[in-house]
Amino acid sequence: MSAGVLAFPSGDGLGRLGQRVAIRVLVGILVLLASATITFFALKLTPGDPVRAVLGGPTANPSPETIAATIREFGLDRPLIVQYGLYLERLVSGNLGVSFSQRQPVASVLAQQIGPTLQLTASAMLVAWALALVSVIGTTRRNRFLSAFGSGLEAVAASLPQFWLALVLLAVFAFGLKWFPPQSRDGFAGLVLPTLALAIPLAGFLAQVTRESLELALDQPFILSARTRGLSDLAVRLRHALRHAVLPGISLSAWAVGSLIGNAVLVEVIFSRQGLGRILYQAVTRQDIPLTIGVTLVVTIVYIVASTLADLLFVLVDPRIKAATR
């Protein structure tokens, strides 16, 4: 069954795949430009002194000559639409500018910070799915008590704010039991608490979605037919029902990756962990416009990549889609 799904695309299929990838990339670039535009106007239309922001934020003390030079360079005395044109021109030529709060080019700040955040996001995603699947497969349509316990637990998990969970985990496991370091530096031990703080609420959410579709799937005729072939209950769930049940969760995965990165802002701040989230927080509070735009661009790229991967995964899990697009 799975061999057909995973088979390498044939010549014709490859061409079509190439076409679809090309369209994806094109749409992705448009989305990036639009994202930059939104960030640009969000930051321009909110109060604040742009000259000062470019030159080093509220704490900077630039000379009048520097101010004049900056106004000329960025066209800050010109109409907003001209500024926007200049800004896009710089952006398209690959110039993300210099971050004043980090005192280095935005590109190199992003290169340093993206690794830890991707590591955190990926581990939280894996742990969230693992927890969700264990809870859903273990408790859906069992006896009344177990089902109610499972869905209750999931509802509570989904309601936990990440930043509060992080503080509770910190109080219990870092300061109370001293199992993990309170500050997340490199290494596995430092990754555990931030991962859990992000993963548990997401797990509750994914489990709720998956439980609903697992219940629907278990009512289907093919489940009865699998049971009559003498498959064990667990085998029926894992091999037949689950494939259907995970689909809604997978199609939410790109959104989930985005929300994990968003919430990484909080978790990275709480655990003093390196990463894009903490950098974004610093950039936003210090009015570091180049860095803020740089981070939002990276977040958008991650979202686009994640939604592409989620689509591919969806086709892998649900061969019907592939048959339909042929």
Partner: protein, 287 residues
């Protein structure tokens, strides 16, 4: 509704529906939300103490019968502060959802009724906005709007709007082709009246549940923003601000962060449970 359904209603249609109690969890959730609303209107119903009264000698008292949730670094009673925080938090939740829904309805109506180009443009804009995580979008606005509850509502409302707008757009598109809209048009009703009387109510009905649950979510987002130091400023008794202040003392006094956060969790949970219950009720009635 089919013809036979309509007929089956006839006998005994004058009778009141049988009184059936909602499930226990929905009752508990409803009671909690009711208590929260009461605390928001009149906090003195629940506590006699002053949320801002400083008593340095009573600082860092652990939870006890005198101080149910303990005291903070200035000796202020945390239970009192949590109760007084209900008003701000509910205001934030309701305000942010109201703003966000207004934006969503405007975008949804433009996209759904403005012709093919508008539909493409709006749904594309929403796709782009959706690629911003809620907190990132809210942060972009929160940082420059200054402090206070107003900016917090604006930032949270804008941050959560793309998700709602997508739903409204879908509902408007579904409603615009419905028979009753056709009928209103055939009767010669002016377009604005059709929008207000037919399209909007029908598009919004399925979203009642989303709105209920959204209030809890909005409280989480806005308290996250105040936790980051954007929004309500200390010593205001706002749950997110209390968490932010307690964060420095996590090692020493866990109750400073535990109880305000617990109320955020309970509020979110209560809105979710209550929203689910509403959903079952509405779907059960064939809405």
């Amino acid at each position: 509704m089919s013809f036979s359904d309509a007929l089956s209603i006839r006998p005994g249609a004058w009778r009141l529906p049988a009184l059936r109690l909602p499930p226990l969890r929905a009752i508990l959730a409803g009671l909690f939300l009711l208590a929260l609303a009461l605390a928001a209107i009149e906090p003195r119903l629940f506590t006699a103490a002053n949320p801002l009264a400083i008593a340095p000698r009573e600082a860092f008292q652990p939870p006890s019968w005198v101080h149910l949730f303990g005291t903070d670094q200035s000796g202020r009673d945390i239970f009192t502060r949590v109760i007084y925080g209900a008003r701000q938090s509910l205001l934030l939740g309701v305000g942010a959802v109201a703003l966000s829904m207004s934006l969503a309805i405007i975008l949804g109506l433009i996209g759904g009724l403005g012709g093919r180009f508008a539909e493409r443009a709006v749904s594309w804009l929403l796709d782009v906005l959706f690629s911003f995580p809620t907190l990132v979008l809210a942060l972009l606005f929160a940082a420059h709007l200054g402090s206070g509850i107003g900016p917090l509502i604006i930032a949270t409302g804008i941050g959560t709007a793309p998700g709602y707008a997508r739903m409204v757009l879908g509902q408007v598109i579904a409603a615009r082709n419905a028979g009753y809209v056709e009928a209103a048009r055939a009767l010669g009703h002016p377009p604005l009246r059709t929008i207000a009387r037919q399209i909007l109510p029908n598009a919004m009905r399925p979203l009642i549940v989303t709105i209920t649950m959204g209030i809890g979510q909005a409280i989480v987002w806005s308290s996250a923003l105040s936790f980051l130091g954007l929004g309500a400023k200390p010593p205001a008794a706002e749950w997110g601000t209390m968490l932010a202040m307690g964060r420095d003392f996590v090692q020493r006094a866990w109750w400073l962060t535990f109880f305000p956060g617990l109320f955020i969790v309970l509020t979110t949970l209560a809105t979710t449970v209550f929203g689910r219950y509403l959903q079952h009720r509405l779907e059960g009635r064939g809405a």
